[in-house]
């Protein structure tokens, strides 16, 4: 995991290392300063100003040096951590671009968004901490030890007395507190999730007059979070008294033993100034050790985010474009040979079973079936948005796996069921289909998709700005724009996945007529709920539970397919039995 994450450091390696170097230098200077201060105090003598000026001068110099290193370390840390976050986002985003539909579904879109935003921010913070504090603290400890040992070796050994205590505290935090916190945060997340449900489901709560019931449930959950939190925080809160205890104990021991030592050696072996700096180093060592334990907690918190990010980075897309794939789709023929498909290897049931289809160039094919009958899955195999589990899909008489992915998808246009327009003008949105399309061409495809009429009525025409999610056009208008966008690709095969459900039947018919007349050689596959949308197709496929239940034209199916009859009946009964109520 860490290896994956570190790969994204790249050009910020130098600044990251510089951060560490400057931090280290800062620490060194910071350790020397109290030493000089002690010397200054020892030599403090109102009769000899020179000594004071001499040590004071050194101190001033060191202070500026420390300032310089500190500022440089801060700047480098900012630069490298923000840069690292940039690279991480970049890598994540690029990786996601390689993902196939299955991969996207596996993570879910909203989870991917969270990983790209919040999780990266968390890791960025941890990274900044790592390059600074994680370097700083152990170095501080090492240098302080070196300095204190150089002052007096035997006395410095007293510091070691506190070590087992602090080691135990750190161990306690890792073994007990961290898992406790992760358990609590899970409960806490559940609590917030519960609030979220109430916010978005407030209509339901209010219509069933369940306010008090919800309050009781919430209070119970919140109370549980509270008591767990108190338990954990009380444990953590012991941290600082224990640290105080260790520091005070050390100070007392060193003062007592050191004081006695100075007196007994009549101040020849050690000065009082050295004694005081020894104590200073001792405090520094102990508080650094305590900080170390806090860092463990913080890093383990960022650890979850780091894991979620590396999951994305380490996940290999399930399908990739072959090297030297075929660029040209020769014709619009489509063949399914004994196709089986399931979404995951573990899935027990096939989403598609034993599909055999033969579609010729220029044909219009309708697909109908209940929700969950795998209609969308079936057509998504054609531009290779999924790979078959068994069997093969041929486009232009060649297996889809042999095509260059981009070439295949450029020539097999698909209008998705859950379609999206992006914020930008209508023209910009349409040019997704062909970025070099001329204005005339755009108007032509919009006329085909019966969109030109309403676009012209907008005051800004084709330059009308579409808001995020396309909220300022109606559902039917959105669908027609999406069809026009796909037509700009001049595809060999055009797939409409329930793409005219919000369009009125008359316009729907006009679109189909235009498609039939204007692009006769393009194979057209239409998934629809409405029988009227596919009635005139050359071939209608009835899907049921992932299997082909029947193939034929409208009148054939009406005669021999039960499902088709039922659907037809459910949609026409009322008009035909007009007034029969």
């Amino acid at each position: 995991m860490i290896k994956t994450l570190l790969k994204s450091v790249r050009e910020y390696k130098k600044t990251s290392i510089l951060t560490a170097v400057f931090t280290a230098l800062e620490v060194v200077v910071e350790c020397i300063i109290p030493f000089i201060m002690a010397l200054l105090i020892d030599k403090m003598d109102s009769s000899n100003l020179n000594v004071v000026f001499w040590y004071g001068g050194i101190l001033l110099f060191l202070a500026f040096l420390s300032l310089f290193f500190g500022v440089m370390a801060g700047r480098c840390a900012a630069k490298s951590s923000a840069g690292y976050a940039k690279n991480l986002r970049h890598d994540l985003y690029y990786q996601i671009q390689e993902y196939a539909f299955e991969d996207i579904d596996k993570f879910s879109q909203s989870s991917l968004v969270t990983r790209l935003t919040t999780d990266v921010s968390n890791v960025q913070m941890a990274y900044q901490m790592c390059t600074r504090i994680v370097i700083r603290v152990p170095l501080m400890i090492i240098f302080s030890f070196i300095m204190s040992f150089s002052i007096n070796f035997k006395l410095s050994l007293i510091f070691l007395i506190s070590l087992p205590v602090i080691a135990m505290v750190i161990l306690l935090i890792i073994k007990v507190v961290s898992p406790l916190f992760s358990k609590i945060f899970k409960k806490y997340d559940a609590l917030n999730n519960y609030v979220q449900e109430n916010v978005s489901g407030i209509r339901v709560v209010k219509s069933f007059a369940r306010e008090n019931y919800e309050k009781e449930k919430f209070d119970k959950a919140a109370n549980e979070v509270k008591s767990n939190f108190i338990k954990a925080e009380k444990l953590v809160a012991l941290n600082s008294p224990i640290m105080m205890f260790c520091i005070y104990l050390t100070i007392l021991l060193i003062s007592f033993i050191g004081g006695k030592f100075i007196i007994n050696t009549q101040g020849l072996e050690m000065t009082t100034g050295k004694l005081s700096s020894l104590i200073n180093y001792g405090v520094q060592i102990l508080s650094s050790l305590m900080m170390l334990s806090m860092i463990f907690v913080m890093i383990s918190m960022a650890g979850t985010s780091a894991k979620r990010i590396s999951e994305v980075l380490e996940h290999n897309p399930v399908l990739t474009s072959p090297e030297n794939g075929i660029q040209e789709v020769k014709n619009g023929n489509i063949t399914f040979k004994n196709v089986y498909f399931k979404y995951t290897n573990e899935a027990q049931k096939y989403a598609l079973e034993n599909i055999n289809l033969e579609i010729k160039e220029g044909e219009i094919v309708g697909i109908i079936g209940a929700t969950g009958s795998s209609k969308s899955t079936l057509v998504q195999l054609i531009p290779r948005l999924h790979d078959v589990s068994e069997g093969e899909v041929l486009v232009g008489d060649i297996n889809v796996k042999d095509y260059n992915l981009q070439s295949l998808r450029d020539q097999v246009a698909m209008v998705l069921q859950k379609n999206v327009l992006f914020s930008g003008t209508i023209k910009e949105n349409l040019r997704w289909g062909d970025k070099n399309a001329s204005d005339e061409e755009i108007v032509r495809v919009c006329k085909l998709a019966q969109a030109d009429e309403f676009i012209s009525k907008f005051s800004d025409g084709y330059d009308t700005y579409i808001e995020q999610g396309g909220v300022n056009v109606s559902g039917g208008q959105k669908q027609r724009l999406c069809i026009a966008r796909s037509l700009l690709k001049k595809p060999k095969i055009l797939i409409l996945d329930d793409s005219t459900s919000a369009v009125d039947t008359k316009t729907d018919a006009l679109i189909r007529k235009a498609l039939k007349e204007e692009i006769p050689n393009t194979t057209k596959i239409i998934i629809a709920q409405r029988i009227s949308s596919i009635k005139d197709a050359d071939k209608i496929i009835v899907l049921d539970n992932g299997k082909v239940d029947g193939i034929g034209n409208h009148s054939e199916l009406l005669k021999n397919n039960k499902i088709y009859q039922e659907v037809y009946e459910s949609q026409t009964k009322n008009t035909s039995k007009k007034g029969g109520n």
Binding site: L59, F101, L112, T117, N198, F218, E233, V236, A413, S423
Partner: protein, 645 residues
């Protein structure tokens, strides 16, 4: 509605919004209201521990001056007693410090979490009592953020920053007084360095927050882009638009990186700058101290006039060092304090929202007929409902049978003042009738149902329920009289059974299964891994939209309410399955007054009254045959010659 779960931003700065005046005072009041005893104890302990810490810092100097220095010349034995005295005194003071520190940290853990619990509880209770308008006018992410980001910031503030701040201020005061007791001149130098500190904090801190705002903005820009693109990722794939998307992304990413670098740079250099001002002050103190001593300038202190001795300078230097360290600690807390206050400001904002008022007094009760044929109240479910109406004027209570007659008379309504979305709506639903509302999105269909169950209050006109003005009916009872099935299904975390039982909490398992059968949901529920005990998460994300709708129909069925509102209840069920559901729905609707909103006209053609709406007005009304004969808008809609949306 695709909603992204609000990410938890532990420790991340949320710098939007301003802090309202008086927030701090109010927060302190809130804290003290429930925990004033604990807090007094905490403050006492903080004072003790701060004093102990400061006294401890002078301990070494005392030891050196009183024991070690004389000891060097006179030998250990002569100062032995003095030494033990000092050590024992110190043990006592240290123990006091440690004990008080244990007490206040342990108490604070309880106070912090207890207060947070109170806040959460108050917020949630408040939220449940807010009118629907609040939820319609506030982004859900924003509401959630008060529970997550703001509460987290508050946790840091109460649990860490506040005690730290108090103890730092205590230490500073104590040290300051002690400094004055040593030397006025030297204290003036310390004051000068504090002034420099403040100027620098203002300058660097100002720049830092300026760029923080910029960083937040470019972060929002990028997150917005990512959100839009990832949500549309499948379209990106289909159009092979990956390269384009990468290019746009890189641009925003660069900008964010740049702003973030600048913002963090200023934040990061504050500490070393302040720390080294402390160091420089230290040197200055030493210089000036020695100079003063050299020229025998009279030292002014609490103790009176005297010459400055090296001993005094040394002690002063130790204190100065402690002083600048404490200031550094405070400066580290500032951003947390700002975040905590901004968070509590938003929390108080939520707590200050006006609650949904409910002046109704007519309530809905189960009823039965006594021997004389009069309605009396009962606890059992009899299927017979009555409005219990208390008349204040003559102190009597009457019962009126719930029949389900709902009348809207000349109703006008607008969500915003001055912008009417409903004009002059009159509807008369007789008991047991099925009323269908048809029209384009935004025509006002859902708004009408919002008015009937008083999610919103009308501006003009009257709504009567069995002849009673709905304003007189207690809201909860009014709403309980309707079974609701909405287009956005909103299931809750829990088992399938729990979710169905939501309709009526005391329904038995059998009743729930019965309701599921009625809604045609029994079939798919039995195919779920654990049947009725299957856990649903994330609004039932493991179910299809159609299955969720079936569940919400079952939920309404088990409620067994005397009237119903169905808002696009079957929109996500395919036509063939809808036919199966339709049978169940017909059973459900039988004998009840029902308001139906439907996109698919095939589901409402048998309604008693069909109202065609356009831009807030009813433009056609009648039953299916009448409207078809009229060959108006409904006819064109029905025959598909007219686009609905």
């Amino acid at each position: 509605m695709a909603e992204r779960r609000m990410p938890m931003r532990r420790g991340m700065a949320v710098t939007k919004g301003n802090i309202k005046k008086g927030t701090f005072k109010r927060l302190i009041k809130y804290l003290f209201k429930n925990y004033w005893k604990s807090l007094m104890l905490v403050i006492l302990c903080l004072i003790i521990s701060a004093c102990a810490g400061t006294v401890a810092s002078t301990f070494l100097q005392t030891l050196i001056d009183d024991v070690i220095t004389p000891g060097i010349s006179e030998g250990f034995n002569s100062v032995k007693n003095e030494m033990y005295n000092i050590i024992i005194k110190m043990i006592v003071i240290y123990s006091l410090g440690i004990v008080s520190s244990i007490i206040y940290t342990q108490t604070m853990a309880t106070v912090t979490q207890g207060t947070l619990y109170n806040f959460r509880k108050d917020m949630f209770h408040k939220m449940e009592s807010l009118p629907l308008k609040y939820f319609d006018t506030h982004a859900h992410g924003e509401i959630m953020s008060t529970y997550t980001n703001d509460t987290d910031a508050l946790r840091q503030f109460i649990g860490q920053s506040l005690p730290n701040l108090i103890s730092s201020l205590m230490s500073i005061t104590v040290i300051f007084i002690m400094m004055l007791s040593f030397s006025l001149w030297l204290t003036l130098i310390v004051i000068a360095s504090i002034v420099v500190d403040l100027i620098i904090v203002k300058k660097i801190g100002g720049n830092s927050s300026k760029y923080m705002v910029k960083q937040q903005k470019s972060l929002a820009n990028e997150e917005g882009f990512v959100e839009e693109m990832i949500k549309g990722q499948k379209v990106v794939k289909v159009f092979c638009h990956e390269e384009e998307a990468k290019k746009q992304f890189d641009k925003l990413n660069e900008q964010l990186c740049h702003d973030s670098q600048t913002a963090n740079k200023y934040g990061n250099i504050l500490m070393p700058v302040l720390g080294n001002i402390g160091n420089i002050t230290y040197v200055l103190l030493a210089f000036i101290g020695v100079l003063l001593a050299y020229y025998e300038v009279k030292n002014i202190s609490f103790r009176g006039l005297a010459t400055l001795t090296p001993g005094i300078i040394v002690s002063f230097l130790t204190m100065a060092r402690q002083f600048s360290q404490t200031i550094g600690q405070i400066s580290q807390q500032t951003s947390m304090i700002a975040m905590g206050l901004a968070g509590s400001s938003r929390i108080f904002d939520l707590l200050d929202q006006e609650e949904e008022d409910d002046n109704g007094y007519v309530i809905l009760v189960n009823a039965k007929k006594d021997a004389n044929g009069n309605l009396v109240e009962t606890d059992e479910r009899t299927g017979l409902w009555a409005w219990k109406h208390y008349h204040k004027a003559d102190d009597t209570t009457t019962f009126k049978e719930l029949k389900g007659e709902i009348v809207l008379e000349n109703v006008d309504f607008g969500y915003i003042d001055g912008e009417l979305v409903l004009h002059d709506i009159s509807i008369h639903a007789k008991p047991g009738q099925k009323i269908a509302l048809v029209g384009a999105t935004g025509a006002g269909k859902t708004t009408i149902t919002n008015l009937i169950n008083r999610f919103y209050d009308i501006q003009d006109g009257k709504i009567r329920y069995d002849g009673i003005n709905v304003n007189k009916i207690k809201k909860k009872h009014l709403r309980r009289s309707f079974g609701m099935v909405l287009q956005d299904t909103n299931l809750f975390t829990g088992t399938v059974m729990d979710n169905i039982r939501y309709g009526r909490l005391n329904a038995s398992d059998e009743e729930c299964i019965e309701a599921a059968k009625l809604a045609n949901a029994d079939d798919f529920i039995n195919r779920l891994p654990h049947g009725y005990q299957t856990m649903l998460n994330n609004n039932g994300s493991n179910l299809s939209q159609g299955q969720r709708q079936l569940l919400s129909i079952a939920r309404a069925a088990v409620a067994d309410a005397p009237a119903m509102i169905l808002d696009e209840a079957t929109s996500s069920i395919d036509t063939r399955s809808e036919k199966l559901v339709q049978d169940g729905m017909e059973k459900l609707m039988k004998g009840r007054t029902v308001f139906v909103i439907a996109h698919r006209l095939s589901t409402i053609h048998n309604s008693d009254i069909i109202l065609v709406m356009d831009k807030g007005r009813i433009i056609e009304r009648g039953n299916h045959e009448e409207l078809m004969d009229k060959k108006g808008v409904y006819y064109r809609l029905y025959t598909g010659k007219f686009e609905l949306e």
